[in-house]
Amino acid sequence: MTSLFEYAPALESRSIVDLRPSYGLFIDGEFTEGTGTPLKTLNPATEEVLAEVATGSDADVDRAVHAARRAFTRVWGPMRPADRGKYLFRIARLLQERAREFAVLESLDNGKPIRESRDVDVPLAAAHFFYHAGWADKLEHAGLGPAPRPLGVAGQVIPWNFPLMMLAWKIAPALATGNTVVLKPAETTPLTALLFAEVCQQADLPPGVVNIVTGAGETGRAVVAHPDVDKVAFTGSTEVGQSIARAVAGTGKRLTLELGGKAANIVFDDAPVDQAVEGIVRGIFFNQGHVCCAGSRLLVQESVHDEVVASLQRRIGTLRVGDPLDKNTDLGAINSAEQLARIRALSDVGEAEGAQRWQPEGDLPTRGYWFKPTVFTDVSPAHRIARDEVFGPVLSVLTFRTPDEAVAKANNTSYGLSAGVWSEKGSRILAITNKLRAGVVWANTFNEFDPTSPFGGYKQSGYGREGGRQGLAAYLRSATS
């Protein structure tokens, strides 16, 4: 389709980012060599190698945990809570000051559009530190029992879809509550975490309070399994979450898990179609659909199915897929070759099982990892594309006739992270919201996040919350909890 509006490229300069050829581990306040075999991290939009990054071995993880324990016992635990808060305020401000640098680096390493890293990921990361900074000296007022105390050393493992934001969701509450941290970023997106390590140095954060150990699955396993870790926090796939819960069993370590999802986005016949279509697009194509709470199952009332799908396809035809650093870009690159293969495989299954695949016209870049925004219609609840988390820009459209059927279909999943409801009728929204078994429900909006709003799953989407007063509970103990 020839676009009515031709855009000139509006490229964000990458010169603000000073990439080093290789990066070490950040342990005890300093960058040190890792003893594992280094990894290469790629720009998924071009397949160019961005940098070589150290892999933390068991011994490196052990050093990091020791540093974290020492910092917990000697410095961070005994520190005046107000001072802990001040360090977090400093970090929030430093993230804001260096926001552009973080945004460009995130888009380079992850492949997400600069518009999103600039307007969502980085501002929300700063907001999480700012929010939790204020909690540091108010914990006894949080309603989490008398005299709440930190747990000790938190081992945290995060995914590649929101590298900096997930880091903030993990580190900010841990530090505010007086814990110290060993964090393992995802194998394919370590760079903003390492830049964050520089922020910790600029903030004069005491050594050992935050330790960043890069690497792949083995490094993560070592963090989870380390006997001197008191608390494990993980965001990622349900499969890995299950293996972590198994590994933690019997150890007494506290555990929170934020896992996969297969959210229903329910559109009733009285919803304003144009707004709903914007919400559907935002729900599934935000961050290339690499979102655990993505609205990947569109449940549309039968009477408006054709109208909604036609309008949706028209809108998708205007989405721009391409260079993540172009400010016009709506969908960037798929994060890795492995993820692209998974998305392709599940989409092929969708077609093989009888669903109709639709993709817009247009070419994709020849280098890098790309997948067009995709809509499947004629999807039945038994199809794998209606059940399995694709974690890509692939929407499955199902229909319903009655509100009860919408709720039954929405809840017909082992996941329970999020859901959306679109209707002009307030009482219907509240009634449906009550019946959805999901940790976040967006009514007439989708994919909104805020540090004051607790986030996390029901069922096999995990347990524990991040954000809000409720999120503090994951990092505290008290006499009665």
């Binding site: 029992g145 709003s453 006499a479």
Partner: protein, 289 residues
């Protein structure tokens, strides 16, 4: 009382889906008092009984969790009223099973009834205490509220057969969950009597299912059951507790771990047994004209 009168003994059965069946396995086991004297043959629940109980608990979840908090509070309070009327019977069973003096057994029963009243009063306060209004940075009305996790398997304490049982069951019910309980193996009789109380207290059938038998035998099936959402390991310890926690990981169950030793159930329980089986739902709605 006529000394010559031959007493009518009770058959101790399971409480499952609002009815009192024997174990489908036909098995029973001998329950004795603390000195080893015969008290009764209790139903020895099987894996199939446990699965039937999960079906009943799931079927009851919608109505129980959907009831108003006020209604749930009244129903639970009613349980305490009926317990009070049965206090002497409970005291006799607790004294015999746990080997307590009549005075101490009665104190345990009184504490159990009071504990039940305490939890009954929580139903309509949880949302205010655990929920929140979320001042998000945008034109949205945001709020969070606690909701029950679903079907919870409760492996009741082994030693404290009534106060311990009430202390682990009350919090699960107050939050709006339904329960499958495996009683103390050695002292199961107060659990069966509690089932009779529940059956006559307007608690809908299936909300509580009480199985007498061996947690080590049935627990693993409940820990890995795909339609059980949470498990309280209070009545287990050591390798069994670890095995159950590991099995529960396969379906991402919420696990409330057992303390190293069975706690003093008379202590103030706080919220610690309610929050593990409560989810938080956050809702966003745009504001605009």
């Amino acid at each position: 009382m006529n000394a010559d009168r031959l007493t009518v003994r009770k058959t101790y059965k399971l409480y499952l889906g609002g009815a009192f069946p024997r174990s489908e396995s036909g098995r029973t086991y001998e329950v004795t008092d603390a000195k080893g004297h015969f008290l009764a043959n209790a139903a020895w629940a099987s894996r199939k009984d446990a699965r039937d109980a999960v079906v009943a608990a799931r079927a009851a979840f919608g109505k129980w969790s959907g009831a108003t908090a006020y209604n749930r509070g009244q129903v639970l309070y009613r349980v305490a009223e009926v317990m009070e009327g049965r206090a002497a019977q409970f005291a006799e069973e607790v004294a015999a099973g746990e080997g307590l003096s009549a005075t101490r057994a009665r104190a345990a029963v009184d504490a159990a009834i009071d504990r039940w009243v305490w939890y009954a009063g929580w139903t309509d306060k949880l949302a205010a205490v655990l929920g929140s209004s979320n001042p998000v940075a945008g034109p949205y009305f945001g709020f969070s509220m606690p909701e029950p996790t679903g079907v919870v398997a409760v492996l009741a304490p082994q030693r404290s057969s009534l106060l311990g049982l009430v202390s682990v069951l009350g919090p699960v019910l107050a939050g709006g969950n339904t329960a499958v309980v495996i009683s103390s193996k050695q002292c199961p009789l107060p659990a069966v009597t509690l089932g009779e109380v529940l059956a006559t207290s307007d608690v809908p059938g299936g909300v509580v299912n009480l199985l007498t038998g061996d947690a080590a035998e049935i627990g693993p099936w409940l820990a890995e059951h795909a339609d059980v959402d949470g498990i309280d390991l209070a009545g287990t310890s050591g390798p069994l507790a670890m095995e159950l926690e590991r099995s529960a990981a396969g379906t991402v169950k919420r696990v409330l771990r057992a303390a190293a030793e069975e706690p003093d159930w008379t202590a103030d329980p706080g919220l610690a047994r309610m929050t593990p089986f409560l989810e938080t739902k956050s809702v966003w709605h745009p504001m605009g004209v």
